[in-house]
């Protein structure tokens, strides 16, 4: 077997390596980083436009909403920075194969955890912002009376139900994105230890 193997030649080798050095990686982590950068730009542009609108609309009467969007925008940027740092620490290609696989599993599970937390937390945060701040402000500006207790109960129950629903939807989505890869990495780690 070894003799046959070592008699192989290199005729099928692409001759020009130099152009390859200028290309970007198509590995999974590089793709995830690129997607994250696109998402960040979308958030910056969308939240930027929303903030500017609220600062100038109604002669500045809604400027406090503009500040809410600015703060949310900064929170998103922080969230993206955390995810980007996790991605940077995910690979160590020059480490031993087992160490690299272990690192990928650990970091990917943390990444998924942050994804699930952020996707779920957005619902109660949005509900609190809408019910406790936005709706009373708009009603006050339109001369309408405050909401009664039935509406408060409705919002609380609705928030809890939507939070639970979004938690499971988010988990399904994240599992679809990364679940199979995590399972595969764990299986390979088991193969390494299995005699």
């Amino acid at each position: 077997m070894k003799t046959l193997w070592q008699q192989q030649g290199n005729e099928n080798v692409p001759q020009d390596i130099q152009p390859i050095l200028k290309k970007n990686s198509n590995g999974p982590v590089a793709k995830m980083k690129r997607n994250l950068r696109y998402e960040l730009w979308v958030v910056i542009v969308a939240y930027g436009i929303a903030s500017i609108y609220f600062f100038v609309a109604e002669e500045g009467l809604l400027s406090s909403l503009g500040w809410v969007y600015v703060i949310l925008g900064f929170l998103f940027v922080y969230y993206f920075i955390r995810k980007y740092r996790l991605l940077n620490s995910m690979e160590c290609m020059s480490c031993q194969v087992k160490a690299n696989l272990s690192r990928q599993v650990t970091v990917l599970e943390k990444y998924v955890f942050w994804y699930e937390i952020a996707g779920t937390a957005i619902i109660p945060l949005f509900a609190i912002y809408t019910f406790w701040y936005l709706v009373p402000k708009l009603r006050y500006m339109n001369g309408k009376p405050d909401l009664n207790n039935n509406y408060t109960l409705f919002w609380i129950v609705g928030t809890i139900l939507f939070t639970i629903l979004f938690y499971y939807l988010n988990r399904c989505y994240v599992n679809k994105l990364y679940g199979k890869h995590i399972k595969k990495l764990k299986l390979m780690l088991e193969q390494m230890d299995d005699q």
């Binding site: 046959l4 070592q6 192989q8 099928n12 390859i20 050095l21 198509n26 020059s94 031993q96 194969v97």
Partner: protein
């Protein structure tokens, strides 16, 4: 002539070890386009890691770690059926009187190795490349005892697979 800059040094290194990279690419892909893509990705990862390589390990150890990490941990669609490799996509054996027969045997060997799990493929590759168990441990991070057991099992599987393919043909 001595390489004049880092890129020249790197290209010289790749030239010396391109056979190993081709073999890793051939073992972890099934089609020519996938093989070319994996070959490129390994080169890109080697180039990224090159500035940080200060001779902490042997060059071949460093190179195999990166090549196998790239091949093993990349996301790839799960194969649904066994696809036998087109012999034209494999490295060729130098012309000799029996080179056709050897190429057939080599193709059978590649097909058989392809049916092993990814980690076993890496072990078999390093074994066939004449790496010691100590070097294999350094590359893969699996202890030598486990490597020997896995290699013996892999040899048995390969023998059975090649025999099945020969009788089935």
């Amino acid at each position: 002539m001595q390489p004049t800059n880092k890129q020249d040094e790197f290209l010289s290194l790749i030239d010396q070890h391109k056979g190993a990279i081709i073999k890793v690419s051939s073992l972890y892909t099934r089609r020519k386009e996938e093989k070319d893509d994996l070959f490129q990705e390994i080169i890109i990862q080697l180039w990224k890691a090159w500035p940080n390589f200060k001779g902490q390990s042997k060059v071949s150890t460093w190179l195999y770690r990166i090549a196998l990490n790239t091949a093993i941990s990349g996301l790839r669609k799960k194969k649904t059926s066994v696809i036998y490799i087109d012999g034209q996509d494999l490295p060729h054996i130098a012309d000799s009187d029996d080179h056709k027969e050897k190429e057939e045997k080599l193709k059978s060997l590649y097909d058989a190795i392809h049916q092993l799990p990814e980690i076993d493929r890496a072990i078999v590759l390093l074994y066939l490349e004449d790496k010691s168990y100590e070097e294999m441990e350094d590359i893969l991070g699996i202890n030598q005892g486990t490597l020997r057991v896995k290699m013996n099992r892999a040899k048995e599987k390969l023998k059975k697979t090649i025999q099945t393919m020969a009788y089935g043909a």
